[in-house]
């Protein structure tokens, strides 16, 4: 069943989330004293706008991004800002970035954008940066420190010396399962910047980090992976509440490593199988994750979607707005000390025929 997502359904999803959510726009008493205003933000990711030729683009992917933008704009109260999680384009072309940026320009509120590998490896982020500015930076909003990272960099040898043309470099990195690709990394320069940035922030300030690739190691074969994840995590661990939100994987994932909660977001373009469904790969899904349902290929927008994210608990609560299934809510459970799905924790309440295998 397909539903148009409205304010009512989002609030209903919030009500189902129980203790983790409060009414929109309220003041929350913080654990470390003082108060902070509740807020939420919209997260749209992985639209993979793909040019066929000239002015024609893949209709399917266009419709995903258009639908997410249209629905996000219907939500009241309005989100404070909109995040786009990377992979706006499929092959980094100016035409694709322009076409996607035009659609994204219709979002209400300020837009922050994360660099994805599909945006980067044609011109090494040059045109994307003209549209969206710096590739890594931080900002503060209502008591939360936000950091945007470019986590899809790789070695200089692979980037500058291996491929005869920029187009080939882009194609090699665009294939998820392509063995000629290269592991993503944040890199030394950006880690030094991150350390400096975080040195200025009190350790009890809630911290939310946005990256395109997971800042944890899941499955290297599909680059569900950041090679220097442990080094980045070490910079984040001193903070009391840390959330990392990443795109790239086109599926629901969540995990907890020390003080860091991880949430992945959906793509608007297409879903990906979980890595453990690849018979030659073995198990590679964070143990905490209750997988999303297997996609129904006969419904074009199934297993894609977007997210409403609130920080009302001081941690991230992600409300997945799914287009052919009920919404899912994943939030931090302070008693368990990790993110949990609010409904589907037990296998018996899940829909068996839709399990991934």
């Amino acid at each position: 069943m397909t539903r148009l997502i409205t304010r009512r359904s989002v609030i209903a999803a919030g009500a189902a989330a129980g203790t983790l959510t409060t009414l929109p726009i309220s003041m929350v008493r913080l654990a470390f004293g003082g108060t902070r205003e509740d807020f939420s933000f919209t997260y749209i990711s992985d639209s993979h706008i793909q040019q066929i030729k000239g002015a024609s683009f893949v209709r399917n992917w266009d419709m995903g991004l258009k639908r997410a933008v249209a629905e996000a704009n219907l939500i009241t109260p309005e989100a404070d800002f909109v995040m786009f999680g990377g992979d706006l384009a499929q092959l980094g072309k100016k035409e694709e970035l322009d076409h996607g940026a035009e659609m994204l320009s219709h979002v209400k509120g300020k837009l922050h954008s994360v660099m994805g590998e599909h945006d980067y490896y044609l011109d090494l982020g040059e045109y994307w940066s003209k549209l969206y500015g710096p590739q890594w930076y931080s900002f503060d909003h209502k008591g939360v420190h936000f950091v945007v990272l470019n986590s899809i960099l790789t070695t200089d040898e692979w980037t500058f010396h291996r491929w005869p043309t920029a187009e080939q470099r882009m194609l090699e990195m665009a294939g998820l399962d392509n063995p000629n690709g290269s592991p993503f990394m944040v890199g030394e320069k950006q880690r030094a910047w991150l350390k400096d940035d975080l040195d200025k922030v009190a350790k009890d300030t809630p911290l939310i980090v946005f990256s395109h690739s997971p800042l944890q190691k899941i499955y290297k074969g599909w680059n569900f992976w950041t090679d220097d994840a442990e080094q980045v995590q070490a910079l984040l661990q001193p903070f009391k509440t840390v959330n990392v939100i990443y795109g790239h994987v086109h599926q629901i994932q969540y995990n907890q490593i020390g003080n860091i909660s991880f949430n992945a977001v959906m793509a608007t373009a297409w879903p990906w199988p979980y890595p453990d469904t690849y018979a030659q790969a073995g198990a590679h899904v964070p143990v905490l994750t209750v997988p999303m349902n297997r996609a129904d290929p006969f419904f074009e927008r199934d297993a894609t979607g977007w997210q409403m994210i609130d920080v009302n608990s001081g941690r991230v609560t992600a409300r997945y707005q799914l287009w052919d299934n009920g919404e899912r809510v994943v939030g931090y459970d302070p008693k368990l000390g990790k993110p949990v799905d609010k409904k589907y924790q037990e296998a018996i309440v899940r829909k068996a025929p839709q399990l991934h295998y």
Partner: protein, 132 residues
């Protein structure tokens, strides 16, 4: 596996008093395997190329390493096709819809290559026709 097959054949020859009919040699087995591998390799090229349909979308965009294709579950009932379907029919559904292309005949060498690649990536999974 190949070595095991050869050992089995040699063992059978040595153990049985009468020579078996249809003997095959290591050279045969190598040839058959390399024929299969070269067709599966063509399948992988088609899978990732974006040339099967008309909109440059490739199978691998949704199915890295042909994951979530479940070749071991066919034939099975597909409610949206309204019948028990074979794997090639579902491949054609994908070519027609997400790839906006024209369906291939069941015995088209391209279809054989695609199906060979799908099965190669799913090697070792038990046959379970009809499973959802």
């Amino acid at each position: 596996m190949r070595r095991f097959t050869i050992a089995l054949v040699l063992g059978a020859v040595l153990l049985s008093p009468a020579t078996l009919a249809d003997e095959f040699t290591g050279t045969d087995v190598d040839r058959w395997q390399s024929e299969f591998d070269s067709v599966a390799k063509k399948g992988r090229e088609l899978w990732t190329s974006g040339a099967l349909g008309t909109n440059s979308v490739a199978c691998a965009q949704c199915h890295p390493n042909a994951a979530n294709t479940h070749p071991e579950t066919y034939p099975k009932f597909q409610k949206q096709l309204g019948k028990v379907a074979q794997l090639f029919e579902m491949v054609n559904w994908c070519i027609r819809n997400p790839l906006q292309g024209a369906a291939l005949p069941a015995d088209d060498p391209k279809m054989t290559a695609l199906v060979a690649y799908i099965h190669k990536e799913r090697k070792g999974v038990a046959i379970d026709a009809g499973k959802h």
